[in-house]
Symmetry: D2
Subunit: 359 residues, 4 copies
């Protein structure tokens, strides 16, 4: 109820403040008998971690995962999988000034309003460090989905005004991880990197967008009427820090289309049912139809910028405020594994649910 659990069958409950003892979570409902590759989980964490490249913050957080339960000799027991990533470098003196300030477009004010108290150090619970738990659960979900041949891959499709124009089918997605901005179009990647570097110098920050594709999801996944597959993915992705928009398949473009254009015509292709077009984004009536699922998510620019800003303090006084420390000026490349993780959790969860749909 209190918003720190996600999933129905494969259920992650997350915990942790940025400068508390640890962040982590419990996964309850992971099927038993799954061999877990711990290295692959750590690798996903490394894709998310700060300091991984020149366009990322120079803070060097070594996010080493420790499993506390639920895995025995590298195999899942079917019991809760608890894990923690201990916060090593808790130099919270850096954050003393935050105690009395409500930073613009941060969650300082709203947490205070909600709870009447907040851990001001590094954003507390509202810190993006929270997403570590998502990546861990997503990495486990991905390993299980692989057994069903389902793969998920996301890439950066926009940074500021540098925006990929083409459909995902027209890019070679194996190139996504070949550059630090995680964009499969090399030219665009270079522009994006340059833009981020320039923005960093200016003490400013940048928004962007991520496109994500799930392949080989079987038809029949999703639980209408309220838990439609794209509604679940939508919620999952919108819950990622800084996400402001979500569109599935044709998305906002659908608003200006005619039905005769938009309808995806069914056809038999080598004895398999496919569709000529895929404006539906692989989901019809809230249930997967076996085609590629793809969506796009928008991210706002990071709220922390390195210029002086007006704001107010906890005494309701107007102040001028300037952020300190080292921060990403564009977090979108680091959000790629988070988007994949949330998608993986939803797909696995719904896949498990579908096992009991029919008698």
């Amino acid at each position: 109820m209190a918003g720190n659990s996600f999933g129905k069958i494969f259920k992650l409950t997350s915990f942790g403040e940025s400068h508390g003892t640890a962040v982590g979570g419990i996964i309850d409902g992971c099927p038993s008998g799954i061999k877990i590759n711990i290295d692959a989980i750590q690798k996903e964490l490394n894709r998310r971690k700060p300091g991984q490249s020149k366009i990322s913050t120079s803070r060097n957080e070594n996010d080493n995962i420790e499993f506390l339960s639920g895995i025995f000799n590298n195999v899942t027991l079917g019991t809760p999988i608890a894990f923690a990533i201990f916060n090593k470098d808790q130099n919270s003196k850096d954050y003393n000034q935050l105690k009395s300030i409500y930073r613009p477009s941060h969650a300082d004010f709203t947490y205070q309003e909600k709870f009447g108290i907040r851990d001001h150090r590094g954003g507390g619970r509202a810190s993006a460090r929270e997403t570590l738990s998502r990546v861990v659960a997503g990495a486990i979900a991905k390993q299980i989905l692989e057994k069903y041949k389902i793969s998920i891959s996301a890439y950066v499709s926009q940074v500021g005004n540098v925006k990929l124009k083409k459909n995902y089918l027209q890019y070679d997605l194996t190139k996504t991880e070949t550059n630090i901005v995680r964009c499969p179009d090399e030219n665009a990647a270079k522009k994006m990197i340059r833009l981020i570097e320039q923005t960093q110098k200016n003490g400013d920050s940048l928004g962007g967008a991520i496109t994500c594709i799930a392949k080989n999801v079987p038809a029949g996944i999703g639980e209408p009427v309220f838990d439609k597959l794209h509604a679940e993915i939508g919620k999952a992705v919108l819950s990622i820090p800084a996400c402001k928009g979500f569109e599935i398949g044709s998305g906002f473009d659908a608003a200006s289309m005619y039905g005769s254009q938009h309808n995806d015509i069914f056809q038999i292709n080598k004895n398999k049912i496919t569709t000529k077009t895929n404006f539906s984004g692989g989901i019809q009536g809230g249930i997967s139809n076996g085609q590629d699922i793809y969506f796009r998510a928008a991210f706002k620019p990071v709220a922390t910028i390195m210029s002086a800003q007006e704001s107010i303090n906890t005494e309701n006084q107007n102040i001028i405020f300037k952020a300190e420390g080292r921060h990403d000026s564009c977090v979108v490349p680091r959000a790629v594994p988070i988007v994949e993780a949330m998608t993986a959790i939803v797909l696995l969860d719904q896949l498990l649910l579908q096992k009991i749909s029919q008698h």
Copy 2:
């Protein structure tokens, strides 16, 4: 789990196939002691109903609500509120041809894949008739929200290529219900109506978009990290039939903005905390900040069009198929009360949850 319930505290469980005996639902968790205005509920149903204007289908469904429990002398008892709208005109012979056809971009195929069986008559459970239950629960939620001075209003901001360009603050929203397309800009409304009529003549259909605003939501509502307020609203709205995209506040525009532009500067205004701009859309860190909450949702064109289309049948054969009956060529105006209803359910639900957040 099976996707027919929505809400945590104020919880709607919905039922009904388009041509079954009835559609309806149970609301469990409605606070006791609320005087209910049944006429106001019926009025919301009438805003949704087919046949209400020349641009709507000429089917004339009289959707009269009957309450079966939970309300005593017009006051809520705190016990489950059950309601049903009986399907009167169940002429299902019209639908015999649908038994063996998978219509393009409909849910015939996916329901069959999910359940191995489907009620083919009029779309069965996938029919938009399902949204009646949403409107009823939303109308009750609205009445409770009014006691907190919270108001919700949505309008059509796009039909096909006719798109409102300005921010919602620049329209007089009291004009929304003065025209049949529910657009507060009279000129645009005329263009939209003309476009719908023309499209109807062409046997085609149209998509569109809806903008929705919630005013006077107090700061502190929403349950991060996973149940962020905009993630909950996003899921609610994306679960409405035909919805393909959702954006809160700045939405997809945020992707191309700088932080220095996007940050909403806090200021003290007549002893109240407000923000200079509201790109956040009234939500920061997943929690309401007291400013207007606004979002936009995209709807695809209705899948049913009055022209011949290729498709396949349940025997996996290619066929040519042409829809019969009377159908809206643009459902977006009728979706306005549904968007409001889903928003109302989320806001009430989260408002109730917030009552137990602090000691």
Copy 3:
């Protein structure tokens, strides 16, 4: 959250006040493709209904069920199954005196305290009429369990001081339904009937106990640590009106036993694993072990008695009060199908959950 739903996968949400329009419910999560025998459901309702024999109240409520959705040509669709039993004989004038009285050991006072309002007619939501919905859902669950060869049978093992002494294995349970008190021991049955008739004449009421056995439940069902199988059954049965106690297997007798007596020794029997004794009641560590599951439940005497009693009214004044109308002096025989129903719902629910426990 508000207590009117039961089950995780196969989930019943119940509604209805005794003298409202209808009682009924929605079952969400029933697997698709199950052929439903409506007559068998009605038969279970008839086992529960008042007026079925001389020891039951002479009120003649014809509890005819109507299905509103989820079943198409007698087969489940996988969509919500809604049903209602309309209250025909709503002569609520009988209940005018109840408006201002808190009857002893009834729920009048507590509902008023909880909700600040109550439907006083015939007990409102606290009426045992609520159990109709349990019986319907249980009857459907039973039909599905039969496909797994699982059978559930309960019998009356105590009425007042007439108590069966032997273990269930020593009775011929096919005789349970041969007498109106639902006791498989014919001599005891006669004594029970006589005691009930005598008590009725005295204007008094009687408690009793029910024993229930589930056979052929496969090993592996139940979800520790909190949702242990007997904890779930315990909650289900304790939620039945008037139930005051629940014991699984050895139950309260276990408190005075030694481990050397109580331990159920495993042995191989015709290549199957069984236990020499079954003090565990078929459940070990909260998970079924394949042996018979059996439990006993205690029911208090009906609160409505036909003698004058002291009480208070809603004005907090002391009063003398005498019940009117026709009432059972012992409801335990009519509770037998309710106990079976709740057990069936739990077992089916956990059986479905177990399908996704292992990879």
Copy 4:
């Protein structure tokens, strides 16, 4: 869904195998702004811990709690409270023989059947070490309940055939903690201790019973029809390892009573509504009525005994088996804080829920 979470608003999710890295949990939904007394939590853990007296196992587990999140300067943040108790003395070689044996009346066989795999070391997830998490969450719940003047106290009312005969009102419950068996009747306590010591010498084990009382619970708590207050407490208590029976108020005695005896007559006492008797156990219609809530729970004798027993191994062969190590021969005294903890969690959870029942 997978059974490791308990509570609706104040929700504990538990993790940990007996010989894994740690046991612990996450509490989500604890209200913010509560000052937490960590020492009081540790004290409850010490009441549960092994080796605390001569009648308890000589294993000396120092169960030191570490909080990982959710508490800042000793005050709850409203965010998830994660905690862990690391398993220090993980000498798992002791348990090698258990790898291939299904011990009688333990959960070895059923976990294997459920999950196809198990952590055999010290019972794995089925170990009573799991109850540490219950005690921690219960200790926090107790601290919050104290602010509402609600107190919970349990005592041992039976060990083997030594059984307290009187109602709880006739004992001085402040004496419960003055002896190592936690029985308020000093004579009975001596007999119990002697019986336990004798049984330990015999290499056998003993069952028992616990009585628990909650005082000052306000009227109006509980969520009928399915989540009746005693049904929730019943489930909570039945989920404790070794619990075989639960009875509220009059319990199984109610079965042999007449309504004229059992009905609790309301009366006005110093302007407060009370009842002459309290056979209801403080709960009517599933909702608290303001009187004392009291119940009794039965516990079976510990399955581990120090004598040779027949059993089978994982190869389905008959074997003779003898337990090793140090074990309690009666765990009932150590279960007292666990019973209190589970009761506290239910009461707090329902108290929070009740805050949103009425408008």
